[in-house]
């Protein structure tokens, strides 16, 4: 059969049910194979939208997302999603067309060195040199993307090779001698960790996106409640531990709660699980958790002791390690009473510094209120995606996520324009769930073109733009740290989002009244098909609390 037909067979064998992509010259053969190929394909309007949709699909379902693009500009448009998937450990396979082999290196039409350009931001990539390699490369790409620390894998297929006839035989094994992720966790190390936890007076569990990736949420809950361990999650880990919960401290980091950040600051033992001590978590590294010893559980050995030296390193995935840790910890029979003083301290912070904001005296919608209203309108049960900026932080703070894979955002790379296409991908992956996007007015237009995709395919995402007419987070930093001198952050009232939505064939709405917001949102959610809502919020509101960049948790303001 043709190599491209084998590509379809490989995708089916990998359980792929949808591909996001856009055809062009160099992947014409592949697109020919989509006709009657048995794989659903969603035609996106920009390759970046396709890439982020594949990420949203992967994050919502836990399966590998797939995005296709042609050579040259098609592939370069994928760079942002690829890099985003790398930073947030999202399993996505990208398959790009390439110019035919005789043109390689000649600056042929729509030629770009896709493998070279993407090399720093992929988990791995395959440059196809013979058509017979294609099935194995695709199979191995899926294996690499989904196992160990997940990540993006790219397969670049020159056009002439994709048209070749090959003997297709299903590939059932992988031959990757240099790739053997360790997931189990060393038993002795786990025992050490259990002992340290049993002896700790002021422990904190600091859980990240690795818990979500490993589907280890239940294990985390079981472990945390096997004693009364306080739990905080990173931006990527939200939902891994249910909020609210009496052991839940809230998110930690730059815009985390005081209870979480102060607990980290005073902890004598921090148990990091699938988290990587990012600078948005640690603030000033030299003053980060100065009294603590660290247990660090991560499937990626390179994360351990990268930023903060671990006293008890455990290489393994969260699911396997937590299962062992619970058994070891229970066997010790630690006395929960030892944590009483610690909880008194934590309760003190919780009472004194709850998350809060000053509500408006009139109809004006405060951005925090908007998130709370969405929580109410959705019963707290929606999958929520976001872009990047103030709205993202407010969504993280005020939408209590009760379960993993409900909160989908761009954490590491901080990609504006992520939310709308990610919602599209999540909605296709989870057709029975409500998918909402809390978008920023600065971000949403970066991939608003995908509204056309949603309208054409009746993908019923509900996008709520938190519209303050500013690039809000940049404005906040200019206000706080650059003497209030605003430089190019005012986006005005452009475009008219209601008209924009209608032009795309979606429903456009505008909400401006606090009193009716919850009901209005329910109405938007009940509307069929994609809906874009322009929610006018307070123009100048700051995201608090905040650890100013490069400072210690103790220096929180607001």
């Amino acid at each position: 059969m043709r190599a491209v037909d084998a590509v379809m067979e490989c995708l089916k064998a990998e359980g792929v049910d949808v591909v996001f992509g856009l055809p062009g010259g160099a992947n014409l053969p592949t697109y020919d194979a989509f006709v009657g190929g048995g794989i659903r394909h969603i035609l996106v309007r920009h390759e970046a939208g396709g890439g982020h949709a594949a990420e949203g699909y992967a994050k919502a379902t836990g399966k590998v997302g797939v995005a296709f693009a042609t050579s040259g500009p098609g592939a370069t448009n994928l760079i942002t999603p690829i890099c985003d998937a790398m930073m947030d450990s999202v399993p996505v396979v990208f398959i790009t067309g390439q110019v035919r082999t005789e043109l390689l290196g000649t600056d042929g039409f729509q030629e770009a060195d896709t493998i070279g350009i993407t090399m720093p931001v992929v988990k791995h990539s395959f440059m196809i040199q013979s058509p017979q390699e294609i099935p194995r490369a695709i199979h191995e790409a899926f294996h690499i993307a989904r196992t160990g620390r997940p990540g993006p894998v790219l397969v670049d297929i020159p056009m002439d090779l994709s048209r070749a006839e090959i003997d297709y035989e299903p590939v059932t094994d992988v031959h990757l001698p240099g790739y053997q992720p360790r997931v189990e966790g060393n038993q002795k190390q786990v025992r050490q960790a259990a002992k340290a936890l049993a002896a700790a007076q002021r422990p904190v569990i600091y859980a990240g996106g690795g818990v979500v990736n490993a589907n280890a949420s239940e294990g985390l809950i079981e472990f945390a409640t096997s004693d009364r361990f306080p739990v905080t999650c990173t931006l990527m880990g939200l939902g891994a531990f249910p909020a609210p919960h009496d052991q839940w401290l809230g998110m930690l980091g730059m815009h985390g709660t005081r209870a979480a950040n102060y607990a980290m600051d005073e902890a004598d033992l921090i148990c990091a699980i699938g988290a990587r001590f990012d600078d948005r978590i640690t603030g000033k590294l030299s003053e980060f958790a100065p009294r603590a010893k660290f247990i660090h559980i991560d499937v990626d050995p390179a994360e351990i002791s990268k930023n903060v030296p671990a006293h008890i390193p455990i290489v393994g995935d969260a699911k396997h390690v937590l299962a062992k840790l619970v058994i070891e910890y229970r066997a010790i029979g630690a006395d929960p009473a030892r944590l009483a003083a610690w909880w008194t301290r934590i309760e003190g912070w919780r009472e004194k510094y709850p998350l809060g904001y000053e509500d408006s005296p009139d109809a004006e919608i405060k951005p925090q209120f908007m998130v709370q209203a969405l929580h109410e309108a959705t019963g707290g049960q929606a999958i929520v995606t976001s872009d990047v900026g103030q709205h993202q932080m407010w969504a993280a703070q005020y939408y209590d996520f009760p379960a993993p894979r409900r909160w989908i955002n761009s954490g590491g790379l901080g990609t504006m324009g992520f939310g709308l296409p990610a919602a599209m991908g999540a909605a296709i992956g989870c057709p029975d769930q409500l998918v909402c996007c809390i978008a920023g007015d600065g971000s949403v237009q970066m991939n608003a073109q995908e509204l056309a995709t949603c309208a054409q395919n009746n993908i019923p995402i509900k996008v709520f733009i938190m519209n303050n007419g500013y690039l809000g987070m940049v404005r906040q930093w200019q206000e706080l740290f650059w003497d209030g001198k605003y430089s190019h952050v005012d986006t005005g009232e452009f475009p008219d989002y209601v008209k924009l939505a209608e032009a795309y064939g979606a429903t456009g709405l505008r909400f401006e009244d606090k009193a009716t917001l919850v009901e209005d949102m329910k109405r938007a959610i009940a509307t069929d098909g994609p809906v874009l809502v322009d929610v006018r919020v307070t123009r100048e509101e700051n995201t608090y609390p905040m650890i100013p960049a490069g400072q210690a948790a103790r220096e929180m303001v607001g």
């Binding site: 720093p120 240099g178 990626d300 990268k306 100013p548 490069g550």
Partner: protein, 185 residues
């Protein structure tokens, strides 16, 4: 300070401090890789983006044609080397890495020296070459080319000796290294 978002200006000294690398002993990393296209680029790219300088790098075949060996030397204190080897291990085509202990390793490099030498100087140069067990591989009226094999220290010592004669050019391969004893590197 040091945070790009804040208004405080950075002095050049601070910038330099922020980018300077810890230096420690020289490390010789012996890396077995799958013999596939792009592997060297992946390794070199990894070093560049993580901010490590490669002092020398050699690549060559092994007794198995599916596998190549990369030998590279880097300067760094223990902590960053640990990080570099872990990052290298993440490359799918990297099969095995050894941070070779100098005492348990035989390391060699080959160097070619083109030295100005007319008449009387030539004899003296040849004597020096002999002491270093070097070989004269080309002689013309105005210059000689000497081949020297050995450890980096020896090559550098030889360079110091011939430089006063007028060193026209020097080329070095970079070190290759093999572990002592029966076990494989």
């Amino acid at each position: 300070m040091g945070e790009p978002g804040t208004k405080a200006t950075l002095s050049l000294a601070e910038l330099e401090a922020a980018t300077s690398m810890r230096t420690g002993r020289k490390h010789v990393l012996s890396i077995l890789v799958e013999n596939k296209s792009g592997v060297l680029t992946r390794i070199a790219g990894l070093f560049a983006r993580r901010g490590f300088n490669i002092d020398t790098l050699t690549v060559g075949p092994t007794d198995d044609d599916q596998v190549s060996r990369v030998t590279l030397t880097v300067d760094g204190a223990l902590h960053p080397i640990d990080q570099v080897t872990k990052q290298l291990h993440k490359l799918i085509n990297v099969l095995k890495i050894r941070d070779l202990e100098p005492a348990d390793t035989v390391a060699r490099e080959l160097a070619l020296f083109k030295v100005a030498a007319d008449g009387v100087q030539r004899g003296e140069l040849m004597q020096i070459a002999e002491i270093f067990r070097g070989k004269v591989v080309d002689v013309t009226k105005r210059a000689v080319i000497i081949e020297v094999t050995g450890t980096t220290d020896k090559i550098e010592a030889f360079e110091g000796m011939v430089r006063p004669f007028g060193l026209i050019e020097m080329m070095r391969t970079g070190e290759i290294a093999i572990s002592r004893g029966r076990s494989e590197t």
